[in-house]
């Protein structure tokens, strides 16, 4: 801590009428300044290297190839993104009879497990994740689902983004109504 070194030992009374010579030390303790200096250094070290923005690569397929792509029902999993960060999914094709059981909803945490299960239980040649986004879903949802593909190490070429069909849009609306407006 700062210390006042009164080197001349306090005031001397030399006599009446004579000025007291109080010699005060000019020493300043620099410890707090050093602390601040290191604090600033740490700040700069952390803020200028760690917050580098990363870039995620996107590969868009050419439109005509998409339409000709035939996917086996057994290997297909359709993931639909709705509003309010809701995720819906179904396997294979939607049959009118089983629609109520097949169309399920989950959240982003749950979808990872499901994606993994599908990945492990399906032959890689038949595997295809079909991603459809609702107009009310956000950009973040789209990026997150693509990220999930990377996290679950789904090889590129086994997932694709496709527009939604009317049936699915209707189903989403009904599910939203049934679960309360989200």
């Amino acid at each position: 801590m700062a210390e006042m070194d009164v080197s001349s030992g306090g005031s001397h009374k030399k006599g009446p009428g004579v000025k007291k010579s109080k010699k005060l030390s000019t020493r300043v303790d620099l410890t707090p300044m050093v602390d601040l200096g290191f604090l600033l250094i740490t700040f700069f070290v952390f803020t200028t290297t760690m917050s580098q923005n990363t870039a995620m690569a996107m590969n868009e397929p050419k439109d005509d190839k998409e339409k000709q792509m035939k996917v086996k029902n057994s290997g297909a999993m359709t993931i639909l993104l709705g509003k309010g960060n809701q995720v819906y999914y179904y396997y294979g094709q939607l049959m009118p009879e089983t629609i109520s059981e097949e169309f399920k909803s989950t959240t982003f945490k749950g979808i990872r497990k499901l994606i993994l299960e599908k990945l492990k239980s399906t032959n890689i040649d038949d595997l295809m994740y079909i991603i459809k986004s609702d107009d009310q879903s956000t950009f973040k949802n789209a990026i997150d689902i693509l990220d999930e593909m990377a996290i679950c190490t789904v090889p590129p070429g086994h997932y694709a983004e496709v527009p939604m069909v009317e049936v699915e849009k209707m189903l989403i609306k009904e599910t939203e109504k049934a679960n309360g407006i989200q």
């Binding site: 200096g37 690569a57 868009e60 439109d63 993994l116």
Partner: protein, 219 residues
Amino acid sequence: MPKVKLPRKSTIVDMTAMCDVAFLLLTFFILATKQKPPEVLAVKTPTSVSATAAPDESILITMTKEGKVFLMLGDKTKKAKIIDDFNTTRGLQLTPNELAKLKKMEFIGLPVNKLKSALNMDHEIPAAEQDGIPTDSTNNELSMWMRSVTNAYAGGDQSVLQKMLLVKGDGEALYPIFKSVKEAFKQNELFKFRIVTEGENVPVGSELFKTGTDASKKH
């Protein structure tokens, strides 16, 4: 008892040298690391596990929360060419003064019909008040801008353009805007581009974590 007089030594350490070293290090870090330029448009990007770094110079398409699209031509070597090309192909008939002013602007966020009047104004319209480049299917002006961009890079190595194309979107922006940006790219045969995201650690225990490689190698 013998009088053992322990010599009293001063315990005060002179901190001047330490302070000098600290400030030298500080100066080094300030000068050696690049400061990010202040963001003109506040966009909160979603996170991803990708580990490839975003390039500094890029043709950046920014999507804000409200669904506005802005274009930043970060490649100084091509910026003038792109703007000139846009002027001639769209028949804007901008005067050399207006053209020069447009080339100095940091970003473009106005539809074509408002561009001329905005360039004649003395002050710059702040980003928040600009309408953004229209991207609806009937009038996808972004597609026209991208046509000029591809024209400027034509004849050279196309992979250079691919590395430059960046899309930065706010997490809350709705999907249709992203779809129309992708449409603008598709119409110009730009199939490979990159999306700016914030770095995120690979979730522990996930498949990607177990492989030990980072996501950039997979893409």
